[in-house]
Symmetry: D2
Subunit: 498 residues, 4 copies
């Protein structure tokens, strides 16, 4: 059986002392194993990164960017192979995996602009003949810890910007679907990156804790669930590191009475069920303002869901695939059960999907629940499955109060045609990423990604302009030259022309 | 005896349960008392700030900036009075107090540019007919905790920018010299700030811990010593707040053989002894490259120090005044003693200064120490007194290694005429603020202030552009309007002109 | 009778060879005379500016900005006096004159941010150990030529930014209402500006042509009518100067069927008749989409216009005052006549207003004309009087086609509640300044002012960020230091510590 | 014989009415012919561009940028072929042609960052609930007119940025070496650019004048000689177009007594003779401060020039090739003759180079002239040949006065080790591009290229950040939504939760 190892100092390393099974969630079978790095393996990676730093930091940003230009080409050339790897271990259908990869490539494209992004601020004459300027210097060795649900995209949110800013990187990807991540790192190596600048260590808590405690690590970027994000942030901060830790979400869409309902339903379909709802930007709650809007939404959504196809990653006509593990499948079903028990109405029930030929896959079908109330468990927690819950309210303000009262503040959306409603909503809602008729308002790569409240711990958001600030340190130089120097002293004879 | 109270919701409040003495360090006598806020007093301030937030956040940035324009005028009109207050409680001479205030006013001037500074990023067509933009919204209620050594300037580093960005503020100034800070806050009130936007609570650890634990506080800015900075940072971070905590320093100047020595000595004089060395940017170590440079430096510095005058704040011809407390005076003398005991040479000895008429003042005279070695206690720790130590090295690289090996990385400087030496130094030294022939490279108000290593905990520096990012939260909106709306539907008859 | 002179090198200068009458348009009487500068007087001003340039250019931006801080204070303290001067010579009511001044002061406020605005771009390592940065240096002596309709505001669009960027300035204001402009320049002098940095020459074509031909003038900013703007632009460009020349306008508002009609009428009232329509941003054409919208608009507007009060500047309850000259009064009436003759319907007729006690003032009453067609003279030309014309169309696209077909493209507006209509309009309309439910979309001082098509000649807009670029010249420095210099050479003995 | 045609609307077009010979300057023989476009051919290209504009303008910037990503790949893959085409028609050696192409590609890399570069400025609450933002919209159809000396690089300075900003482009390259330019445009087409967005018309004054007069052309970028640049600028400006016209140069290097002379000579060698001196950034005058510096410079330069090899483009070991035409060869020799006649000393004489096997090529050898005086013809005019002239002065100020007195202000350089001399020079010299120990201070692609004085007509420099501003037009939108709209009206019953 294949074993997925680490990438350290440009080489694939296999420290096979501890191994963990990697599943194919479409079949429920173990497909390979992944090595779990020991403390010393992680330290070896850190040492390699530390050794590579001085030369990489001094490499002109334009040259660093050119590695990213080549990396983009390689990612595009290998897109199908990467999508296949993702499908096999994560279960998402190839069109979805390709979409994920594309979003990741956009971060590489942004990183290609490093020479512009790294410009410092220059001030002439802050005092008489005194100049001052700020530079943004790399931090040194930085780390990323990434989740299973986007094995290609989330790592690509982090390391291209970190590296193009002049840092060296240690990535600890999810141990559930490690293959595509490792392969992508190898492509970066192939693109011309010097050995040691990019390193991948697969592993579990031992690897994570080593990264959090080793004093050579200057900064940690994390994406995962809120409890872990909070642990990472507190620990890294206490150890004097920069940290940005992105956690969970419960993203609501407000459906206003004036919304283009067909458009809203069409948008919600993809936003709620795409990737089995295993996205931190999944739209999992629709808040309908008024019963008329709610009834229309339920009716049209129910009809639209008849065409939804759940199945194995390898069949392109499927809309979404299995969830990541057996345990997670049971957890999602448990949330649906609890909603039912607490009085909500299961309009479309995905608890027993039939996927012929994949009876042992970890599937949950698309589920629609009406009359959900804020006090229900399924409302309060992140389900991370293909479940759309509908809450009915009587006013837009009531809908906004609901959203603001939830512990998470990642993404949200409003469906309306009205300029004033949209502006009031986006101005006042306590959520970091807001869509107006856009159900999945993931910022493009040249803006930055980040939620509010307990969806993000840290000052700076992920990727985009904030990533430049996160992965660099400001240095301000103030300069005055003493006079009576070479300029005034060289006057060899009577000047003939002045 | 006068009692210094708090400013809460626009009113001076006196919760006199606990009081602490405030000294005049030039005479050694108690001059007044300061109230120490209880937990409930601090919570009252936080509640006032929270109540003021919704209206202040919605006040156009231009209107917020205009309060700062008026605040600047009032600070300038009251400069002498403020300098007098500082001198009485801190001991610094009036020219120095006015200089401190001026540096503070420059931050108010910068805050006047809020409408420009708060501009967000706008992207047309991130997709077909989809626009996206990022706004920088205020955080809510934020806090500042400031040290005794700059009772006017350091608070002015914080609250003007925080407030002009739309936040409400709780300031906990030093309890050793609280009067000027409170008066400045009252001037801001007079400038037209609505009640509750700016609040001052005097106090001790109880006040600090309330600010660090109350969940309504969104962010904490701190300036003080490194152990406290670290405590503040860890605690605030663990409680889910943003934090920037600035700590101690040990700022070195490299004196190169080609330096303009007269200029260097002249610059070092002010940088080492100004404000009795009680500045986190004080230049406390001179690293001379080669014995020739060292000998020249010692000789010229010794001569120049003959003219230094230490004395009471009220006499303008004095160069610097007392240190802040009796205990601190003894601590500084202890460092000089230890250097002598460990083999350094006391070239100019300030341990027993004669200040006629102020025999009980907390004075230490300007002190110059040669042959200091890295292993000495006086080298390793921050003295925070009027003591300049000289270390002799044989090469510039050796000097830089020394600096990089020290735990602090606040400021540093090189004296040279050589472009290459200056560039190599500023590029490579692991220090956040670098001077080239500028011994006190405090960034101007439109750049940002921050050290590296254990001189600053946090991602973003103080004041300047970084303050905008620290005191705001990014929100990204993505917007698409559904078609088939009013635009296409209104076509009342055959158009007559197209 | 009083004579208005020039301000040259800090002194009021009177070259009384040629004089021109200045009228009080509210009474129709001559109130004073203005000196018309000869070529040599203008050259004297240029020489003064040229002499002042080297020192001013080297004055730190922060110090230059502080002159603007004081200037703002003085303008605010003298606001009533300035409004009085404007009223007397221009005729606008004091609330309007104070509004104009306030808009001007906002440009001074923006200029106070010069240290931030003048930051250059700094790039480390454009090649190995090669740095490069761009500075924005002042041009030298620059000129402004300004119109009668905003004697305070339009000059304040220009010289504060030009001067704070380090340039010296020659202003040629309108000879019809020169007093407030000259007084404002004197306040700037009082604020601490060195002599010669700001100069005012009153005059006519002789002064203008001298400014356009003198090779010491580096740049010319102009605001006025399109034919003159075009002449200024061609001549200045042919003489190798930078030029931005702002001309005429015909600003349309589209009134959509879903508009909040009461709000629209209320907004249009001020935008069409304020300052007698003598504004380049006056809203002079309403394009109603559909007859229902048109009928409602006409009905409500007619009713609202009953309360409009035209009269002398000195009576604060008046809504607007006279037009600038007898000749202009006749021209405006002529346009109304022509509309009537060409078949439009005069709904409200302002051709014979009764202003008791001011029978000789140059008054025109508020006029509303319905059924205006694009081929009418009154539609094609800029009236610059208190006349609102209504064009009826059948679709939004037809309305937009009308606007795009007009030679001017200064400002425009749409009244709607619909997000899609607003976005389509602002995206596609060929006009530089667009309002969405904002009838007078003059950009705030921290954005820039500029029309499209024949409303502006030049690359860069007026005031705001564009003004920084217009009044500075980019210089890019690329720097590499040779090695084997002082740094490597100083190694006096075996290093003891590395 | 081959004929070089035009690229119009994605097709190669040949209007063979008028043809002109294209030479191989290494052999002196005609190698092909180029079609000279008639007015109607140019108009056909403009029409194609105009038709392509609406769709291209609406293409998301990221998609436009992706065409540039592919274009970069194609340019790199075809680099040798392009260098061959350049060598054949221009004569430059392949290493030089590849260097030119690389500099051009860097502009394509910069254009890949369009999504970041096109961000507008967004302001919340410019008034209560009023927002305002500025967009940078493309102009429409724009044109470029480029010189023979950089047939690949200078066009690449222009069209990638123009096109990525959303414009359509008409390029009129030099008719002396048109092949590589046309081929590059075809590669852009191959990269996925829609037909009509990029068009190339070969031609002479008829084509140029058509571009200058056709009202559909919104902007013109030009690089060439100063008399033509001035003509282009005046004509385009008079016709209401934006224009930036870059002209001639006479770039001086100051050699200070403390310079690293070996380094200076080494740098000057390439900067003076590379590409036969046919570069607007060629370093053609060395100003030595003091006779000692001058003597050392002459001696070392004379020695270094012994190794210089002039010859045909096809031999890679050559340092530089022929000049562009027979007529230009004679003109260069004429300047050398005139210097000799006017009293200068020809130290190294390149007037009769021996290039075996290429006796009819248009060669001039590397020439070094000492004792040049400012009044000599060879000093006053741009030679554009492989000739380095040395002027001797007695002080740095005298050297700077010389440079500032010259009509051109393109590039300049100082060789020194002294920080103060470098800063004084770069601050005060009236030249747009300044090198410190960098003889050819061409700004990198992420800064902008532009001279001062008569080296550039226009406000904005070429490529880099200025290109974004040159190729876009600012539009400012101000938006307020009326209240009492959908948000407040939808309240269907008593709210149950607030």
């Amino acid at each position: 059986m294949n074993t997925v190892g680490h990438l350290i100092n440009g080489q694939i390393v296999n420290d096979a002392a501890r191994l963990q099974d990697v599943y194919n969630p479409s079949t429920g079978e173990v497909s390979k194993q992944v090595a779990l790095a020991s403390k010393s393996t992680v330290e070896q990676a850190i040492s390699a990164a530390e050794a590579a730093f001085p030369a990489w930091r001094n490499t002109p940003p334009l040259k660093r960017a050119r590695v990213m230009f080549r990396f983009k080409e390689l990612l595009e050339q290998n897109a199908d192979r990467i999508a296949q790897m993702i499908g096999e271990e994560h279960g998402k259908i190839s069109h979805d995996a390709l979409g994920e990869l594309q979003r990741g490539i956009e971060n590489v494209e942004y990183a290609c602009g490093a020479p512009e992004l790294l410009k410092g601020e220059h001030s002439k004459n802050v005092g008489p003949n005194i100049d001052s300027w700020s530079e943004f210097q790399p931090l040194g060795v930085v780390a990323g810890i990434t989740p299973f649900n986007f094995p290609a995209m989330v790592p690509l949110w982090m390391f291209p910007m970190a590296i193009v800013c002049g840092n060296c990187f240690i990535l600890k990807p999810s141990e559930r679907d490690p293959s595509s991540t490792l392969f992508i790192a190898q492509l970066l190596q192939e693109a011309g990156l010097p050995d040691g600048v990019m390193n991948v260590v697969n592993g579990d808590k031992e690897a994570v804790d080593t990264l959090l405690s080793d004093e050579r690590i200057q900064a940690v970027s994390f994406v995962g669930s809120t409890p872990i994000a909070e642990y990472i942030y507190k620990t890294a901060s206490a150890n004097g590191k920069r940290c940005q830790a992105l956690g969970g979400a419960k993203n609501h869409a407000i459906v206003m009475p004036d919304a283009d309902m067909d458009n809203a339903v069409n948008q919600l379909l993809g936003a709620a069920f795409g990737s089995s709802g295993e996205r931190c930007m999944a739209l999992s709650v629709a808040v309908a303002v008024g019963d008329a809007a709610a009834d229309a939404l339920i009716e049209k959504m129910q009809a639209a869901m008849q065409t939804l196809k759940v199945g194995a990653y390898s069949e392109k006509s499927n809309d979404f695939g299995p969830v990541i593990t057996k345990a997670h499948q049971q957890k999602v079903v448990g949330y649906i059960n609890s909603a039912e028990e607490q009085g909500a109405k299961i309009v479309v029930d995905g608890r027993n999907p039939q996927v012929v030929g994949h009876e042992n896959g970890f599937f949950v079908g698309g589920t629609l629940i009406d009359n959900v109330l804020p006090e229900m468990l399924s409302y309060q927690e992140e389900i991370f499955g293909p479940v759309l819950q509908v809450v009915r309210v009587n006013s837009m303000q009531e809908a906004m109060n609901l959203i603001d009262a939830h512990e998470y503040g990642n993404g949200t959306c409003i469906f309306t045609r009205d300029g004033e409603a949209a502006r009031y909503f986006s101005d006042n809602i306590k959520v970091g990423m807001v869509g107006i008729n856009v159900p999945l308002p993931v910022p493009v790569a040249y803006h930055s990604f980040g939620g509010w409240k307990r969806s993000l711990f840290g000052d700076l958001h992920a990727y985009g302009p904030d990533a430049v600030r996160f992965y660099t340190r400001r240095k301000t130089i103030t300069q005055r030259w003493p006079s009576a120097s070479i300029r005034e002293s060289v006057e060899f004879s009577m000047p003939t022309m002045k």
